[in-house]
Amino acid sequence: MNFVAVTLEFIAGQTAAVPLIPRSWAWRVLTLSDYNTRVVLYGTTLLGIAAGLLGVYMLLRKRALLGDAISHATLPGVAATYLWSVSAGYEKSLALLLIGAAISGGLGGLTVLALRHVAKLREDAALGIVLSVFFGAGVALVGIVQQDSGGNAAGLEGFIYGKAAAMTAEDAWLSGGAALLVMLIVWAIGKELQILCFDSELARSQGLPVLLLDTLLIALVVGVTIVGLQAVGLILVIALLVIPAAAARFWSDSLKQILVVSACIGGASCSIGTLTSATFAKLPSGATIVLVACGGFAVSLVFGSARGIVWQGLRHRRMRDQQDFQHFLRFAYEYLESQNNAGPFIKPGSVPIALSHLIHSRTWSAHRVLAVGQQLQKLDMVVMRPDDCIELTKRGWLAARRIVREHRLLEMYLLRETDVDLGQADRDADYLEHGLMPEHLMDLDEAMRAESLFDVPASPHPLLPETVASDLPSRVLPEQGKTA
């Protein structure tokens, strides 16, 4: 079929023009000595920046995919304008086509709002309807265009998959204008947009025109989409609106920084994608840009400094280690206490503690106990002995005493202030103590009127004796007669 061939040629088109890339060509691309490359590069980069900025607000307003409906809705506008301009005898003009695209894209956006608020349909349904019905109309119109004007109509296909290489200086100016406009608006009314996205109730109670601001956002999305049609095509333009913003969220918890990061990721993906697609054969520009952006997203997801998986995992692990250290030390101290040796500091090495006690006292694996012991040894809190026993160092003993004291204060506080029973208080304290901050401790001290900062109160519940500990899975059993 004719248009199959046309499409293929089109998609491969911009690179097929340079079948065998001469070294000098790649060199010229990379050094930007080529005028065309420069134009395309500036155009797409500015577009990426604009989309990155705008995307942040769309994401925070929970309307990330509105851009998808709008971009699909531009197709009938393009095709209808084309048909009209041909029948009216005008030259095919890009500006006209883009105006048509803007009108039908805006219409699509408004239809989404109307379906939401007048027909009371849900957001996802409204988006799906507008997207598919408008695009269907576009496809029907493109079908008509195709039969008439064969090759000439292939220009319309460019809107679907994008054709960055075909960007002209005019287009670059256009995306520059769009980027500038978005930046200007973000700079001028950034704080209004911030309130709108964070707390639309506050916005309304302060008299901000919520509907107008939303419409403004939609208008900007239409603008970015129009520019993006050229570069990445209407199916993938949503990627520029969503991916950089979603990726930037991994790097920071501050809106300003997110805006900057998102703009950078958007701009960088567009420039890298454009250069890559211009350098290597058979890489369609739109798809390449999107893949580069996805790479950025993946890197952010894994390594992002605020929410990246690695960082979160590390933090989680450090917290778990911390907890295990505390439990380890606390048990060791309580063991010494049960031996009546806790009082004033005992000489290092004077009282060994069998690791098997520790293993039985908590639901730990032997492996984990050994690992924790070794880590504590590195911190000079514990000495591991060859006979599977440990000793507390002076440092370890002091730390253990502080931990036990905090735990018991908290336990007593919980017992006094809430209705929990002993076992529950112990577990609650176990859970809570790791989150204690200095300010809490001071409150706790005050609440419990502890006499001295170094005083360790007796445990409100009996501790497990050495003799029983080894045969008990956990220390649920309160016991009597021991401690002597």
Binding site: K191, E192, I195, F198, D199, E201, G207, L255
Partner: protein
């Protein structure tokens, strides 16, 4: 008539902080507020009390124009709300926003100043200082730079309160500020309300707990779709009034509301 306290149509001076006349609000033809008339005198601390679904939050939203009223009018210091926006600080329920939003406590408090800054106004050192001061008043200045998702429920509520403080309003409308907060936060909020009151400000608070309401507020409004009673706390908290508010004796009104909706439906094939 059996009732001792009817509605509080006490003649107030024209510039009472808040004056509500015959407000009716309905969602899907089901009445949520019915002909509520209310005057709040200056420098008072008013508790808005009633069972779930009594329309307490809706009343606040209707006052600040966030839900459309079927009838009635609202006056803030004798003027329409939109002429006097800066005089009112509205504190929405904590759950109404996404606490995962990328902002610090300071950012959130600073949003309170945006109303006065107006369009295109820039945040200056002055606003920043005001925000810090508000955080200090709520005793969470040390959390200024903390990401809001990492604040506890009580700290988030304090942040919201600080945002209201920074608005420098004369009338504070707070929607359930005590919901799911710790005792210390509750105390801090009550203290700040007392401070505001002694500075001549007026505070209207949606509140759930009858026991503490008696202690916190000097005036009480009992609401259950209609205004049951309003006035000095001691006068309003009578068994009879509480029975009316919580006793569900007014089921007939519920039913007629249902009937209205049913009739609506049966009209269509």
């Amino acid at each position: 008539m059996k009732t001792t306290v009817v509605s509080s149509v006490v003649k107030m001076s024209a510039d009472a902080p808040l004056s509500v006349r015959d407000i009716t609000v309905a969602y899907h033809r089901k009445p949520v507020l019915w002909n509520v008339t209310l005057d709040v005198p200056g420098a008072s601390m008013v508790g808005l009390v009633g069972p779930n679904g009594a329309g307490k939050s809706t009343l606040l939203k209707a006052i600040v124009g966030m839900v459309p009223r079927i009838s009635g009018e609202v006056r803030i210091f004798g003027k329409e709300y939109h002429h006097h926006r800066s005089a009112v600080a509205y504190v929405p329920q904590r759950e109404s926003v996404d606490w995962d939003f990328p902002a610090t406590a300071l950012d959130v408090v600073m949003m309170g100043t945006y109303g006065q800054l107006g369009w295109f106004g820039r945040v200056t050192k002055k606003e920043r200082q005001a925000a810090h001061e508000a955080l200090r008043q709520m005793e969470i200045e040390h959390l200024a730079e903390r990401q809001i998702s990492q604040l506890s429920g009580g700290q988030q509520q304090r942040t919201f309160l600080a945002r209201a403080l920074v608005q420098q309003a004369d009338l504070y409308l707070m929607d359930e500020p005590f919901a799911a907060v710790d005792a210390a936060t509750e105390n801090a909020i009550v203290n700040i309300m007392r401070t505001l009151q002694s500075a001549g400000k007026t505070i209207v608070v949606v509140h759930h707990d009858l026991h503490t309401a008696r202690e916190y507020f000097d005036r009480i409004v009992l609401l259950n779709t209609r205004l049951i009673a309003a006035g000095k706390t001691a006068d309003v908290f009578t068994d009879e009034n509480l029975q009316k508010t919580y006793g569900g004796k007014l089921t007939l009104l519920e039913e007629v509301g249902d009937a209205m909706r049913r009739r609506d439906r049966s009209n269509s094939p």
